[in-house]
């Protein structure tokens, strides 16, 4: 498809040629073993369908009850966003915004931006925004921590199990599926595909 590309390893700066990868292959740095590139099968179409799935699951996971608790006849329901809202009401604005940013705003922003980028590549339309949107994703990605939230839900459920009855909601199952889909996106999306597109657009 393209010539053997000269690249520098992002972890050790070694200059080397990236071999032409066959589908499913990964390239690693000769010196420090960092992953330099991957070539997933049908990357664009698969990432696009996974991203749409993830967005649907994201909406479901945020609308239905996540965890509920009954104690002596009283029922308290919570959704994913309840934690941030309750922290705000209780006078913890810093914790509240941290939880809100890392479990709602950054993940949602990343998914929406990724949807735009992939649609733009797929239908070759609106290319001028791809560059800044995909850059935004690379910056914001470490701060989206949905998978950590899932572990927290497990811990919270166990902690409360002694005192009260914990009811798992529909949103929790959507959330578990969402985490799996997000992991799948990481394995099907080839970032080089997107940057190559950006480069091509600029040369036109």
């Amino acid at each position: 498809m393209h010539d053997q590309e000269l690249i520098a390893c992002h972890d050790c700066d070694l200059l080397q040629r990236l071999p032409d990868l066959r589908t499913g292959q990964k390239a690693r740095c000769l010196r420090c073993n960092a992953t330099l590139g991957l070539r997933p099968k049908d990357s664009l179409n698969r990432s696009l369908s996974l991203t749409i799935t993830a967005l649907v699951l994201f909406v479901l996971a945020n609308t239905f009850p996540f965890l509920s608790l009954t104690l002596q006849g009283q029922l308290v329901e919570s959704t994913l966003i309840s934690g941030a809202l309750s922290l705000l009401e209780a006078g913890n604005p810093w914790l509240s915004s941290l939880v809100l940013l890392t479990t709602l705003i950054f993940p949602l922003m990343n998914l929406c931006a990724l949807l735009y980028v992939l649609l733009s590549l797929r239908f070759n339309y609106g290319a001028e925004r791809v560059r800044s949107l995909y850059r935004l994703i690379t910056y914001a990605r470490p701060w989206a921590m949905l998978e950590v939230m899932l572990l927290a839900a497990l811990v919270a459920g166990v902690k409360l199990g002694d005192y009260a009855t914990v009811i798992t909601g529909f949103a929790l199952y959507c959330f578990i599926a969402l985490i799996l889909i997000l992991a799948a996106i990481d394995n099907t999306l080839d970032p080089r595909l997107i940057w190559r597109y950006v480069k091509q657009q600029e040369q036109l």
Binding site: G83, L98, V158
Partner: protein, 205 residues
């Protein structure tokens, strides 16, 4: 074996585009993605050290002050990070207790230690096991986020346990310090430039 820097090139940290290295790197932007690019993160060691010192100081209130207080049938009970782990253990959920112990006590502490070790080794231009040091760095970067689990547990409990006089949960003063430690060590890992480990190896060749 030659680094991009010694070949007069530099790579963008975000899209990996290779650029010819100009005389001054100030305000240099990547032609592909438009981010600011540098051959090495400027003042990497100073920034990482500053963030490490800040997190080390905050680590003390994060572990001594209660992160959460639970009121059950009129009896208040304050939990620190460690007592939360011990509670899980007493209830017999040792696999979960182990996960939380690793995520909220082992990870922040080893992160502080390994990043300090990396900073010192780079400052001394050490030649000691560069591959292992790079691996340690990658691991540090990967696991740091899992320490947020305690903050999310608090958020979920505060939202769920709202039974008036019967039972309530509040976030304690330690929780903000703990969150700050997690965030600051994540920034510290980001500002550390692992390519510095390999620069020391090349300068001797």
């Amino acid at each position: 074996m030659i680094s991009a820097r010694n070949a007069g090139l530099l790579a963008c940290a975000h899209c990996h585009t290779l650029v010819r290295r100009p005389a001054t790197e100030d305000a240099l932007r990547c032609p592909t993605c438009g981010s600011r690019i540098h051959s090495r993160i400027p003042n990497s060691i100073q920034k990482t050290t500053a963030l490490l010192i800040a997190s080390l100081l905050l680590y003390i209130p994060a572990n001594t002050l209660p992160v959460m207080s639970m009121m059950y049938l009129g009896a208040p009970e304050a939990d620190t990070i460690m007592s939360g782990v011990l509670d899980l253990l007493e209830e017999g959920f040792w696999p979960l207790a182990l996960i939380v112990f690793v995520a909220s006590i082992v990870v922040p502490l080893t992160k502080l230690l390994t990043l300090s070790l990396l900073v010192v080794s780079v400052a001394l231009k050490s030649h000691w096991r560069p591959l292992d040091r790079t691996r340690i760095y990658r691991l540090t970067e990967l696991v740091g986020r899992w320490s947020m689990v305690d903050i999310y547990v608090i958020a979920i409990l505060v939202a769920l346990v709202q039974f008036g006089n019967l039972a309530t949960v509040h976030a304690g003063p330690g929780s903000v310090s703990f969150a700050a430690v997690v965030i600051l060590t994540m920034f510290a890992a980001n500002t550390f430039d692992p390519r510095l480990i390999w620069d020391a190896m090349e300068s001797e060749q």
